[in-house]
Symmetry: C2
Subunit: 352 residues, 2 copies
DNA sequence: CCGAAAGAGGAAAAGGTTTACACACGTGCG
DNA sequence: CGCACGTGTGTAAACCTTTTCCTCTTTCGG
């Protein structure tokens, strides 16, 4: 029957194969098989104007038969939207960012969006390049704790359709942000430690360019104003950084230690154990963020808990076109576990 | 000068703005500004046939001036390649998969490729849908420990340009795989425990559909043949699963416990501590995979170490078009830390 | 029974880029 | 001096889909 028609339209150009390069069926294959135009196929499959049920059924059957799936690049080109967001994070191996990525990817998927991801290994240069590169691809870009300078961040903002930041603020129109109130977090931790009697506290600092570290520092200045002594020791954001920073930290003879985040704190606990320093008897230790494992360390880690689920959800909200370009502030809460207690009576040399 | 030319070509159609929908410059803007054809612009920027240095410089300046960046969707459509791979994993929050993702994303980025990611929350149905969906976008698809059935996996293989599996095998042409020899791993662990004197070992099983769990089971059967008693307790792959499975595990009065992976083992250690069961004095515990934190638990976790870096690198190799469609076997090695020791002399009820 | 409106479907343009082909110009060789 | 060839550039097709506009048929109110 189809053959008859083909003969009848003798002036029809001889169609060469309409398969795409990779041998996949195109919309033309479906159209030919269903004996309709490509417009109709598109309408049936992507739902535009109404199509008679009879034709629709024929199209669906044809699509099924040849295994047709629309080419996303063509759709993107035409629609001007890739249904994709980009996520850039300093360290994909860090549980904190892994959790955020998990959350945002789930949110995106639930709204039929894809997630493009890039890790930067804490390198601001790579971060910038990744962001600029991704910006052209995606409908929206999420930068987690970006380390790049503000001017560059503005360049990225200009290059992207929609920019959302996590744990960083930028005075710029059309940029949304979700930030955790680390100032509050640090104050809570310091007050908690202060109420236990701690006066000499070491803070293991995060990466130099991290905005969230600066917020923590503000909290510590508040604590200093309240009479506590804060000793700052350069550290970083990874487990290994914490492990390595312990020895120097101990030379300052603190009674308590606050790590940049829980990941670092786990490294700290580990090194302290090696050194024979008992937590919390000899030294109290606290982290920030409440990573999944923090409830499972020995002893459990006192920390400032912020919900990565909520973080992810809020970030996703910002991609809604109707969302205002403001900054969402998230407040965590103090979680006291076994790693903090009263300082030792007589001050002893912990490493002795 | 440009104006003169424009006047001279009086029959040139009046060009409407050539900006794209989002207001970004297109290749036409650059071409007009540099007074060349779009073909030349493309050649200068993407390097095809040679172009005179004089013209090239003019094009580069023009591109710079209007801030031109090629539209990736258009490039993808034309080239038939998106320079993107897709990664699907059961749980992006699991450090094991997070590490793999980190590695593969880094490898991909180093080769100017992007990484599209999807988490499935251990749901085979979502896994299948994500894979099929992504397959159309990407040049290659990496499925981490897929839980879907073999027939569906074959469908995915058929739908994707190139499929690579991690910790799963599939008899199918054109599918590459990287698998860890868990059979070997479990044997090593059992021999280690056996040499310490353990005869009753609980195994906390992984997800039902995990191929890697089946490999472990093979290892345990070998151990059983060698005279050890293996008690299987259903568990899962997450930290919380381990935590929850401990109580049932203890009812079997084992002297040692092997967890599906290190993540689970951390949960186990935590629950044991709550119950007052001392590791390794009352019970030896071992994990599998050597997660980053495993060296930092208390006590350090005895485990079967497999390099996620190597896993990621090997997986990336498989995407090389010249790579054979075979299965790469990776062997790990036993890492003995503090969590395993001789069983207690007199068998006591651990939870008493 | 006529005209208008609505419904169904097709033709073709548009989306931004790359590249095969064509063309023009100059150079070197026979 | 003519011809082949190489170099640099332009033209237009192609990639695959969606959507606008248009045509044709049907229906319904007057």
């Amino acid at each position: 029957m189809a053959a008859n028609r083909a003969v009848a339209w003798s002036n029809e150009p001889v169609r060469k194969s309409t398969r795409d390069r990779a041998g996949r069926a195109t919309i033309h294959d479906v159209a030919r098989l269903a004996e309709v135009s490509t417009a109709t196929v598109s309408r049936v499959l992507s739902g535009g104007k109404p199509v008679s049920e009879q034709v629709a059924e024929r199209v669906r059957a044809a699509a099924q038969e040849v295994g047709y799936r629309p080419n996303p690049a063509a759709q993107t080109l035409l629609r001007g939207s890739s249904q994709t967001i980009g996520v850039v994070a300093p360290d994909l191996g860090n549980p904190y960012f892994a959790e955020i990525l998990k959350g945002i990817a789930a949110e995106a998927a639930a709204d039929a969006n894809h997630t493009l991801v890039a890790g930067t290994d804490e390198d601001p240069e790579r971060e910038y390049r990744s962001a600029i590169e991704l910006a052209r691809w995606v409908d929206g870009l999420l930068l987690c704790a970006p380390r790049m300078s503000a001017p560059r961040l503005k360049e990225v903002a200009a290059a992207s359709r929609k920019l959302v930041l996590i744990n960083r603020v930028l005075r710029h129109p059309s940029v949304g942000a979700v930030v955790v109130d680390y100032h509050h977090g640090v104050r809570q931790l310091c007050e908690h430690l202060g109420s236990l009697g701690h006066q000499r506290i070491v803070y293991l600092e995060g990466p130099p360019n991290a905005w969230s570290d600066q917020q923590r520092q503000r909290g510590f200045r508040t604590a200093e104003a309240a009479g506590q002594t804060i000793i700052r020791v350069p550290c970083g954001s990874a487990l290994r950084d914490g492990y390595d920073a312990v020895d120097e930290a101990l030379t300052h003879r603190p009674t308590a230690l606050i790590a940049f985040n829980d990941h670092v704190a786990v490294g700290v606990l580990s090194r302290l154990r090696e050194l024979g320093v008992t937590v919390p008897d000899d030294l109290s230790v606290a982290g920030i963020d409440d990573a999944p494992m923090s409830a499972h360390t020995d002893p459990g880690l006192t920390t400032y808990a912020v919900s990565t689920v909520e973080l992810g959800r809020q970030a996703w909200q910002h991609f809604n076109p109707a969302a205002p370009n403001n900054t969402t502030h998230l407040t965590g809460e103090l979680v006291v576990r076994g790693s903090t207690a009263r300082p030792p009576r007589r001050r002893r040399t912990p490493q002795a």
